[in-house]
């Protein structure tokens, strides 16, 4: 029981939670603004991890700088996908349900292609490197430098995006699109441009998460799927399309998982995560933190 009170668990919960929050952020933006279900989201995490890995291995570039390259590359990829696949789909304006189902399949196709192209290019061999591996201690808690860095970057980026959504007029436009698609155009939001931006931002943030993860985990072309799952669990928990809720839910999931496991057994970790996920969907599909729908 002492373990529960140790700072160590809190550190773990916060680091895990911050990475969950950052990973889910992009998925939420893409779903919120366009109702696209991006099941290839984890593959962007993977791409980001590879960019950081190669930048570090070949150019000896710090992953904290490599993440900028990862973000840029992912944003470009997002732009290409937008023009290649989704513009037509979004302009069609057919029933939203169809759009969601179709986007899921399209992204599934993208996911399969990306994974296998990466495997062809880099082989499936797991890779990794060491960066900021020193352990820092205070009190009864300890943390490696790379986890501090990952936490800091994730928190800064989540906070930055929240601030952008809150204070910048373009951020406001993204929120407008999420809350009321039909009204966004009416007030003069350039819907097309904002959608592109949201997709780029969503992809880039996933890639940054990947770059951060690459400092602490092994990477491989097929590593993405669990991140997709985690991101979906988080945004369901926070309410689909609710960006602030998603970030809070990411942290919450980190805490829930870490302490849940500490209280029961690690063997139940996945049951705990999926159990919460399924229960939320059944009992409160608008998300744990989502407000009640406004009734007109």
């Amino acid at each position: 029981m002492d373990a529960l009170l140790s700072g160590q668990l809190l550190v773990a919960a916060l680091v895990t939670g911050a990475l969950y929050a950052l990973t889910a952020l992009g998925l939420n933006l893409v779903y919120g603004t366009m109702r696209l279900l991006n099941v290839a989201h984890g593959d962007l995490v993977m791409i980001g991890a590879y960019v950081a890995f190669w930048a570090f291995t070949l150019l000896a570039l710090s992953p904290l700088l490599g993440l900028a390259a990862a973000a840029a590359l992912a944003a470009l990829f997002g732009l290409a996908l937008y023009h290649g696949l989704f513009r037509r789909l979004l302009a069609g304006g057919k029933a939203a349900q169809r759009l969601e189902a179709n986007s899921l399949l399209l992204f599934f196709g993208v996911s399969v292609i990306v994974q296998n192209l990466m495997a062809l290019q880099f082989t499936a061999t797991p890779r990794g490197y060491q960066y900021l591996d020193t352990v820092y201690r205070w009190g009864n808690a300890a943390i490696t430098g790379n986890r501090v860095a990952a936490f800091a970057v994730a928190v800064i980026l989540c906070g930055g995006v929240l601030a952008f959504l809150r204070f910048h007029v373009t951020g406001l436009a993204i929120k407008a699109l999420i809350q009321r698609r039909d009204a966004a155009a009416v007030v003069g939001v350039n819907v097309e441009r904002v959608q592109q931006l949201a997709l780029c931002l969503g992809f880039a943030s996933a890639a940054v998460a990947g770059a951060l993860v690459s400092m602490t985990e092994q990477i491989s072309p097929f590593m993405g799927f669990p991140f997709t799952i985690a991101a979906f669990v988080v945004i369901i928990l926070g309410g689909l399309g609710n960006v602030t809720g998603g970030i809070a839910a990411g942290l919450l999931l980190g805490v829930l998982e870490t302490y849940g496991v500490a209280l029961t057994s690690s063997a139940y970790r996945s049951i705990l995560v999926y159990g919460v996920f399924v229960l939320i969907l059944l009992l409160r599909p608008q998300g744990l933190l989502g407000g009640r729908r406004i009734v007109r």
């Binding site: 009321r180 003069g188 939001v189």
Partner: protein, 237 residues
């Protein structure tokens, strides 16, 4: 008096369903132009087509002498055509201030947004009181004020008002109408679509009756108010 907006043979609808089958009218600079008609007659569809939210299936649209039939919604807002939509469509999870702020997203309006906001707050002191409140938690009447205020934030040359008193208590409807009159007196060109025929025709310089997506009748506002055909259409008297 020159026409600020001219529409000719406008055809619009949703997918395969055509609702407006070739409607033409003109809104003169500085005047209030009313579009009246029954529910489902096509008023809202027409308004959305004018604002560019719905694509024009056919027809011509000129604004201040410029052809804008192909311009997308945000470009029309930038040109000065601003719709206050039916159902208000305010952003429910944004504060009053944010709702107003996003109204001024077009570059033309962005610079002056602080001053415009002050004007809007002056026009609706109630909004000033509730600056920080979320849009979704406002009452119906307050939401309508907010929608109107949000439209004004865009610095419109032409304001399209779609059912601005829908579902409002009479006292609130009255307030909205008096505001519209004040705006008109300030020189703003307004097109209003309303079911409340009486009050609408009362403030309109010119009115068009739309029936089943087509023009049924046109004339000076006050004259139509006494037109027996209008009375017959709306009260069955």
């Amino acid at each position: 008096m020159s026409a600020l907006l001219e529409a000719e043979g406008v055809v619009a609808g949703y997918g395969d369903i055509e609702i407006v089958h070739g409607f033409g009218f003109a809104a003169a600079e500085g005047e209030v132009t009313a579009l009246v008609g029954a529910n489902g007659a096509g008023k809202t569809t027409l308004m959305r087509a004018l604002a560019g939210v719905l694509p024009l299936a056919a027809g011509a649209l000129r604004f201040a002498g410029r052809d804008i039939a192909a311009a997308r919604a945000h470009a029309r807002v930038e040109a000065g055509i601003v719709l206050v939509p039916e159902g208000r469509l305010i952003f429910p999870h944004m504060s009053v201030a944010e709702n107003l702020r996003i109204g001024a997203i077009n570059p033309r309006a962005r610079r002056d947004r602080a001053r415009t906001a002050d004007e809007v707050y002056a026009l609706f002191p109630r909004l000033a009181e509730r600056r920080r409140q979320l849009g979704g938690t406002l009452s119906g009447g307050e939401q309508q004020m907010l929608a109107l205020g949000r439209g004004l934030m865009a610095k419109p040359r032409l304001l399209l008002l779609d059912e601005p008193t829908l579902g409002l208590a009479p006292i609130m409807a009255k307030l909205i109408f008096s505001t519209i009159e004040r705006l008109s007196e300030g020189g703003l060109t307004i097109v209003i679509a309303e079911q409340d025929v009486g009050q609408t025709l009362g403030i309109a310089d010119r009115a068009y009756v739309i029936e089943n997506g087509r023009l049924a009748l046109a004339g000076a506002g006050a004259a139509l108010l006494d037109d027996p055909r209008v009375k017959a259409a709306y009260l069955g008297l």
